[in-house]
Symmetry: C2
Subunit: 360 residues, 2 copies
DNA sequence: CCCGATCATGGTAGCGCAACCATCAATCGT
DNA sequence: ACGATTGATGGTTGCGCTACCATGATCGGG
């Protein structure tokens, strides 16, 4: 089973002797090629190629016999050869900082839905919030001559930006919104989102508001949400405080732990804005278990609008971002550019919505 | 910005007239090639190739000057050319039925960690629990001449099995365990897992036990968990009942809804085994909100061992499967086979563990 | 000190496919 | 009815890289 042995005989006729150019046949993929199909159908290879790639340009008669030959031989086109020959790859790398966070998974789903229908293949890259790794990934993935690129975030290492800028391919930077994207940009302002939540909490009467988030140096968007809250506090003349932070990935368990830590460090807090719903849900569950009254003792808010936030008791106030849309729009804009259609504006603000629920 | 115009001039000298073989230059990827690096470094292209792929076989002197040339020119190898020439693809498709379920995301992470280190690229395919789509995906992905394939599940459409069997490439079927895998198999017995949970519930004194799961016709593994429970019930001489089922993807919200429906349809129930933790957690939250006593009025159990299950009140009894391990082991076995190392046994049972918590 | 072994490097020939032009037949306009 | 166009098909070349062999240099053993 699973032998990789070449099926073709080592040599077929001629030059059995004499000079250098030995009639060797390289070990090959033992697969049916375009030429085989062409011979079977009695046409030229290029005609088979056309029949498969632009069926309209081949007569119905030939197309039928070619289709039959394809089916009989079980021909599967070799993508590498096609892409090498046409310098057109139908491959689109998507670079995200994490898969642990459901948000990115949903974005990827949004992208894939669109790409798959258009016959493009998604190549997944996970930077794990490491800029050096991002550079390496971009560099590697460029070797695939991608038709376009989707990358999360606008902040890159110097060299990453250079690579992305220099490769001359359609690019969409997603998730956050910025003034000077390299090419296209689909996302939302996390600063505004943070302010939105800050204003909501203030309006609700909370005055001693804190922020919890991990790895804010690496997670620029979380940092922006904090800055938004901070600005809202400043605008309202309320006390601003540094974020409660720690060095670990987000998880519900961590959210619960950070809730307790924050309350211990700053017992005067009356509201906590968590960097994401994973943390916030964990905090809610911890509070429920420990008998901490939410929002009586402390209000809790999150970000992302994960479905589960609507089900907890109390349900979680959060900011809902259109994750699937970000992916779908980014993919659509990329395809538009690739196919030469009008891609629309270079920058799309997908916005976000405050979902006010019981936890505030 | 982002122009796709070829950078090379249309033609460079000579044959401006006369015969057919026009000195045209095809629109190309405008990229630095191996040959450019070779010229810069003053060596033959093949030497550059070796310096990059088998550094040990090139003298340190040359290697250094080649590395410098690579860096200066920003050379990125063209994967397609390499794979076409070597008929060795370094591409591994991973076919899963869903991304909404965190389990598959974790498996993918496990796979990617291993593959990336070995220089392989993961190609993601999502069947959405649709066998026809699976066939199509397999067929498409085979066009990438993959070095190996990882696919979730052992049940495929006839044609899918034929394709997988016929392609002669290392294959790992993951998630569930079966008697006759096509090639290799890494997973666990969902039947046993179901029985394990059934026995636990019975041992705990529950006697009127139901099962909740969606799309059991498509989700074979969930069905096996049901059968396991069913067998445990039969073994104990307890009443067996058909599963509570519905046609929608799993979500916490659906879990809550199904809890209420089940209790309404069968008020005598004293325990419910949910097909997965997403559902079960939703049921727990619903119960908490509606004042349904768990496990007093009804016990609730899940499957997967998602982290959040440990945090709810009551915490969720579940079956923990080693998701990351499944991915990592599958990838490792695949790589072993590809590189010719001993892959070990064709079938690996990763097992699972009952996590008894407060909800039962 | 010569001969074969070992090493580093280079030349050449494809890998399978699509771009480009040429060619030939069918169709159209007037 | 005839040339000009259009449409369908084929021949040739090359995409960028690596497999295969050849070559020359270096080395050690007898």
């Amino acid at each position: 089973m699973s032998s990789h042995s070449p099926k073709r005989p080592a040599a077929s006729g001629s030059t059995g002797s004499s000079r250098a150019p030995i009639a060797r046949r390289r070990a090959t993929t033992s697969a049916v090629t375009l030429k085989d199909v062409a011979e079977r159908a009695g046409v030229a290879p290029i005609t088979v190629s056309r029949a498969l790639n632009a069926p309209g340009s081949v007569s119905a008669t030939l197309r039928a016999s070619i289709d039959r030959a394809v089916a009989e031989l079980g021909y599967v086109p070799n993508r590498f050869a096609g892409m090498l020959a046409s310098a057109e790859s139908r491959v689109i790398p998507v670079i995200v900082p994490s898969l642990s966070n459901a948000v990115f998974v949903e974005v990827i789903q949004g992208i894939q839905t669109v790409l798959e229908d258009a016959g493009y293949q998604l190549l997944l890259g996970n930077t794990m919030y490491d800029l050096a790794r991002e550079t390496e990934l971009v560099s590697t993935l460029l070797g695939w001559s991608p038709a376009g690129i989707i990358v999360a975030g606008l902040r890159h290492a110097e060299r990453t930006s250079a690579l992305l800028r220099g490769c001359g391919r359609p690019l969409v930077e997603i998730m956050e919104l910025g003034a000077r994207p390299i090419d296209m940009n689909v996302g939302l302002s996390h600063l505004k989102a943070g302010m939105m939540m800050g204003r909501h909490l203030i309006e609700r009467g909370y005055r001693r508001i804190g922020f919890v988030g991990g790895r804010l140096d690496a997670d620029y968007r979380a940092m922006q949400r904090f800055r938004g809250l901070d600005r809202a506090l400043a605008d309202a003349g309320l006390r601003r405080r540094p974020p409660f932070t720690y060095d670990a990935p987000s998880s519900p368990e961590m959210g619960g732990r950070q809730l307790l830590l924050a309350l211990q460090q700053a017992p005067d807090l009356d509201a906590l804005f968590f960097a994401n719903d994973d943390l916030a849900v964990g905090a809610l569950l911890r509070a429920a278990r420990d008998g901490i009254d939410v929002p009586g003792r402390i209000a809790i808010a999150g970000f992302n609008g994960l479905d589960i936030g609507a089900l907890t008791s109390p349900s979680l106030t959060s900011i809902v971002s259109p994750r699937l849309d970000i992916g779908a729009i980014a993919a659509a804009k990329l395809l538009a550019r690739i196919t030469g259609a009008a891609p629309g504006p270079a920058r799309v603000d997908v916005g976000c919505k405050l979902a006010i629920r019981e936890s505030t």
